[in-house]
């Protein structure tokens, strides 16, 4: 059963790649074919993701649905299972898989509108999605890094070709910063695999090595910053976050959705996989520093967002702030805090995806994202406004939506371990209310600026995507246990995480 389920993971991982391969041979003029095909792929992936999430046994072992294929072994320095295609999910990755499915599907629908080189877009998009799934599933350091990079690289072209506002700058900066971050991961991998001296990249094996002292405490402390900085760039760790505002400003809608929605989580996920699980002692040593950075990020993003004039900049900074929470949650090394971080990843994912979807929908019509250009558009775009308000409220941490569930756990965990930082984190949540409501007030409400009388509300496809995302938010907001139960076993079994 376990292995059969492993094939589900393999399918989710390979299907987008196959889709990209197939699309390679579709003529560029067959846009509709590419769209329908992609939509079907997206739907299948959504189904698979939901399956993975639901089939994950909350009460079982943390790692489930494992599948291990020998890949490269017994050559060079590699021993038995040196590099193997080892897939599996734990509670955290099961949750993030669900997130990926939802956001990817929504993104596919949103990309429907693209006319310019639509097919090429989908090719890159699917490669990216495959990278995301791969990173979440990989239980082999080699493949983890493989897919991690795979998820980052297509962004350059996705933003560079289909982006807007200073797209080349944004794309280049984003790509370079993210890949630059992965240098840290790379170095970390070298050091860890070497230090363990097992001739294998297999993560569970290395995790064990990290816990039973095969990787010395000194090395762990030395290497941990590499991993964290490496993953932290992608996670929007302050002060390495500046790709986020610019990158989001440049990126096309569905890329922003997937990027802010899922990709940033790869970074935080990496900190769990490589930081906490692989280097528990290093994590213990460094987590206070991460906590400080996360708190700074949370406050800094929120404060900077207060006076931004561009929608995407607000969301960009807000992402920095929210990913700051994730880092805070991880840094607590407390079950509730870490669970909160995982929940926040999901929450921020769907919420941000929705926000970017909406911004894109508006920008496509208005060709401006300057807040002060707008006013009263609730009159012409009620659905849009409702959706945005929901997203904004989730952002603010309103109970009943996913944001609260996540943030609450983070706060609880933080208060248990570092009360002062918990207070600061909550303060950031309060500031979030200020910038969100400011935007609501300026843009959505008030008298309608006649310039925007012709704006159209969400299209059916956008509505479907938005509803999907809102339902996800509500699901986590209203009924916690399906989410928390799946996390519980995994989180409590993380090394160094206290009860």
């Amino acid at each position: 059963m376990d292995e059969a389920q492993g094939y589900v993971l393999l399918t989710a991982l390979a299907l987008p790649l196959v889709a990209a391969g197939v699309l390679l041979f579709v003529p560029g003029t067959q846009k509709m074919a590419a769209r329908y095909f992609s939509a079907v792929i997206g739907a299948i992936l959504l189904g698979l993701s939901v399956y993975v999430f639901l089939a994950y046994q909350a009460s079982g072992e943390p790692l489930q649905m494992q599948l291990q294929w020998a890949w490269i072994e017994n050559v060079g320095f590699l021993g038995e299972n040196g590099i193997s295609l080892h897939l599996g999910v734990d509670g955290i990755s099961a949750l993030l898989t669900l997130l990926t499915g939802v956001v990817a599907f929504a993104g596919t629908l949103i990309a429907w509108k693209l006319e310019y080189r639509a097919k090429d877009f989908f090719i890159l998009f699917w490669i990216l999605i495959s990278g995301v799934y791969g990173t979440f599933f990989a239980l082999d350091l080699f493949f983890f890094f493989f897919f991690y990079e795979l998820a980052v690289v297509p962004l350059y072209m996705l933003i560079g070709i289909w982006g807007s506002t200073r797209k080349e700058y944004g794309a280049m900066k984003l790509t370079l910063m993210l890949v630059g971050g992965s240098v840290g991961i790379w170095i970390g991998i070298f050091a860890v695999v070497h230090e363990a001296g097992l001739g294998t990249f297999d993560l569970p094996t290395l995790w064990e090595a990290g816990q039973n002292g095969l990787i010395s405490a000194g090395t762990q402390k030395l290497i941990f910053p590499f991993f964290v900085v490496g993953c932290g760039v992608l996670a929007g760790l302050w002060p390495l976050h500046t790709w986020s505002p610019d990158g989001h400003m440049s990126a096309p809608t569905s890329v922003s959705m997937v990027h802010a929605g899922v990709l940033m989580k790869l970074g935080a996920f990496g900190i769990i996989r490589l930081g906490i699980q692989l280097l528990p002692e290093g994590a213990e040593f460094w987590m206070p520093a991460l906590l400080v950075l996360g708190t700074i990020g949370a406050l800094y993003g929120a404060i900077a967002a207060l006076t931004q004039r561009d929608f995407k900049l607000i969301s960009g900074y807000s992402s920095v702030s929210h990913m700051g929470y994730v880092l805070i949650g991880l840094a607590t090394l407390h079950v509730v805090g870490v669970s909160g971080a995982a929940l926040q990843m999901f929450s921020h994912g769907v919420m941000t995806a929705l926000v970017f979807l909406l911004i894109g929908s508006l920008y496509d019509q208005a060709h401006t994202r300057d807040l002060s250009d707008f006013g009263g558009i609730a009159k012409v775009m009620p659905l849009w406004v409702i959706a945005y308000v929901v997203a904004g409220l989730a952002n603010v941490g309103l109970p009943g939506l996913s944001g609260f569930t996540a943030e609450f756990h983070i706060f609880v965990g933080t208060f248990k371990t570092y009360p002062v930082f918990g207070g600061l984190a909550i303060l950031a949540a309060a500031i979030a209310a200020a910038y969100m409501l400011r935007m609501f007030g300026v843009v959505f409400f008030g008298p309608l600026n006649p310039r925007w009388r012709e704006l159209k509300d969400l299209s059916p496809l956008e509505t479907v995507s938005a509803v999907l995302l809102i339902l996800s938010m509500l699901a986590m907001g209203l009924w916690w246990s399906p989410f928390t139960d799946r996390l519980a076993n995994t989180v409590t079994n993380l090394p160094g995480v206290t009860g």
Partner: protein, 627 residues
């Protein structure tokens, strides 16, 4: 039934979903559904009440909870707890909600987003009921935020008006600041006790599980939340602005129910407060200051709703005072009676607004009693109840508070007495300037008329309640209705109430001073004599009119300090972090390459030089290091 009281919250919740999704397409945009919903919970409340009373005191509080989430040692149960305080709150909410729903059918007729209004109203009712039913602080917080959301949505109902949007924003953010405190307080409790359950927390605290300082700090955070929601000084600024919302909303949310959530919370946690050092004194002082402050400010307001709003703030201060003095029953009783007469007054104001086609400036009203007698009559009852006329509802509850404060100290009693006088004073002013005298604006007066039955009936009912609600304090009255005695006995099994006639006399004196002062001041010439002060002491008047500069101060703080800081951070982010740090690194790399490339001159001798230098360097370094 009592253990299934959650149904009370579920019904409007479902109604909200249905109406939000389909309200637009329903016949009459679904207002009947709203009324039906309100009526059914009103009815259900009695079922709950009956069951609750039947179960008897030994079964109180009635509990019902389910496992919600568990991660490691972190367990969370969600559930309801029904005890007398809850019952009181349920009574207030269901009753006023029904009245307001009915009233709104008339009031909101033809207004934009009619269906949406009713939908959100149901959301509010659901959240409010959840708030009072919650057996744990977390659920309470959830509901707390949701009522805030409903309030936000309803204040901003007329979002085409910039002022409404601003008011909604202000309300949300201001209360949010308090909510942060509440959340911190809740988590601090969990941190110390490992539970969110209010009863368990109380037990832990009584066992001394939390250190003194820590408990005090925690309670201050909790109090912060309560102050924010109940618009206590210095968080009061949002409530007057919240009058931008439709008037029935003001009645329900910003007078009768939501704003008293803070009072409810303090009442609920009072056993803990009592153990937390001087926490209660803080409550008392906050309430006292608020009561006085808003009493003064109300005096300079010209908008009838604003006057009522400040009055509400003031009355909430009264309740805080009562709680601060340690008298749950006094505070809750004032909450109970106040809900009726203040809702009545707001709905009355609504009737005036509808009747005069949206005029609510006192300067344009006057002499309305002729045009709308029912409204005037009920409004008068409400006013008198507020001012504390024996034996209307407000009298008894205020009397209780005065009685409660006696024990604290004469200074408190004295100040509260002044506040009570001011209450009577501005209430009189309000009534006189609105309904009596000659119409200030003939144009307005000529078009004024009594609103329809759908609006006057709730007024009448509430007027009735404003008269009788006070009697609940009597043992006999309660007993007759099946309660175990009067209000205080029901609430915490205290002694039966005995009228302290001395206090009655004093109260009445206060009432008389205030009322007649007001009447004297404003009756004569039917002009706004408040301007006299403006002439006499312009600075003082301006200070009062500007609400002691609270808003200006906050505005300044936000504009200059918060936003200034934000600009600073943004600037730092762009120039220091991004342009210097990130782009700077890139430029440096680029520039290094630029410098380096000039070594590549294209000339063979130079290339050979590089080789030779390289060799020598390698040789010398290796000799030095290895040799």
């Amino acid at each position: 039934m009592a253990e299934h009281a959650w149904i009370l919250a579920a019904v409007p919740g479902i109604a909200f979903i249905v109406m939000a999704a389909f309200g637009r397409n329903l016949p009459r945009q679904g207002d009947w559904l709203a009324v039906l919903c309100a009526a059914s919970i009103f009815a259900l409340f009695f079922a709950v009440l009956a069951n609750f009373l039947n179960l008897g005191e030994s079964a109180w509080p009635v509990l019902n909870s389910i496992e919600w989430t568990a991660i490691g040692d972190f367990h969370l149960r969600m559930g309801i707890a029904v005890d007398p305080i809850t019952i009181v709150m349920l009574a207030v909410i269901t009753t006023v909600a029904l009245m307001v729903n009915i009233f709104s059918v008339g009031y909101m007729k033809g207004e934009p987003r009619y269906w949406w209004y009713f939908a959100v109203l149901q959301l509010f009712v659901a959240s409010m009921l959840m708030l009072v039913l919650a057996d744990n602080l977390l659920l309470l917080y959830v509901a707390w935020e949701l009522v805030g959301l409903s309030s936000f949505l309803l204040i901003g109902h007329y979002w085409e008006r910039r002022s409404a949007v601003e008011a909604a924003k202000k309300a949300f953010i201001t209360t949010r600041v308090g909510d942060v405190g509440l959340l911190i307080g809740i988590i601090l409790f969990w941190d110390a006790t490992g539970t969110f359950n209010i009863l368990e927390i109380t037990e832990y605290v009584e066992q001394g599980a939390i250190g003194d300082t820590r408990l005090f700090v925690t309670m201050m955070f909790i109090l912060l939340g309560a102050m924010g929601k109940s618009a206590q000084l210095p968080f009061h600024v949002w409530l007057p602005d919240a009058m931008e919302g439709p008037t029935p909303v003001s009645a329900l949310i910003h007078a009768a129910t939501m704003v008293v959530a803070g009072v409810y919370l303090v009442a609920r946690m009072l056993p803990v407060f009592e153990l937390a050092g001087d926490a209660l004194t803080v409550v008392l002082v906050v309430g006292l200051l608020t009561a006085l402050f808003s009493g003064v400010v109300a005096f300079a307001q010209t908008d009838i709703k604003k006057v009522l709003a400040y009055s509400t703030v003031s009355q909430l201060g009264f309740m805080f005072v009562a709680l601060g003095a340690g008298y749950v029953s006094a505070g809750m009783f004032h909450l109970f009676t106040h809900a009726f007469f203040k809702a009545l007054l707001f709905l009355g104001a609504g009737a005036v607004i509808i009747g005069t086609h949206h005029h609510q400036e006192m300067g344009q009203l006057g002499g309305l009693w002729r045009k709308m007698p029912v409204t005037a009559a009920t409004f008068l009852i409400g006013s008198l109840a507020l001012a504390g006329l024996f034996p209307l509802a407000g009298f008894w509850s205020k009397d209780e508070i005065l009685h409660a404060v006696e024990g604290v100290g004469s200074w408190a009693f004295f100040l509260l007495a002044i506040a009570a006088i001011m209450t009577a004073f501005y209430t009189t002013r309000l009534f006189v300037r609105t309904f009596l005298g000659k119409p200030q604006d003939e144009e307005v007066a000529s078009h004024s008329r009594e609103p329809g039955l759908v609006m006057t009936l709730p007024l009448v009912f509430l007027a009735f309640m404003s008269i009788v609600a006070g009697f609940f304090i009597f043992h006999g009255f309660g007993n007759a209705l099946g309660f175990p005695g009067g209000f205080g006995e029901f609430l915490h099994g205290g002694k039966p109430f005995h009228v302290d006639w001395g206090l009655v006399g004093l109260s009445t004196a206060l009432f008389v001073i205030g009322t007649f002062g007001g009447a004297w001041f404003y009756w004569n010439g039917r002009v706004d004599r408040s301007t006299v002060l403006a002439e006499w002491q312009p600075k003082v008047y301006e200070m009062i009119q500007r609400k002691f500069y609270f808003d200006d101060l906050y505005q300044f703080f936000i504009d200059r300090v918060v936003l200034g800081f934000s600009y600073l951070v943004s600037w730092f982010d762009r120039f220091a972090v991004n342009d210097t740090g990130v782009d700077g690194t890139a430029s440096m790399t680029h520039y290094t390459g630029f410098l380096l490339k000039h070594l590549q001159t294209g000339r063979v001798p130079n290339y050979a030089m590089a080789i030779a230098v390289g060799v020598i360097a390698l040789a010398l370094v290796s000799l030095a290091v290895g040799g």
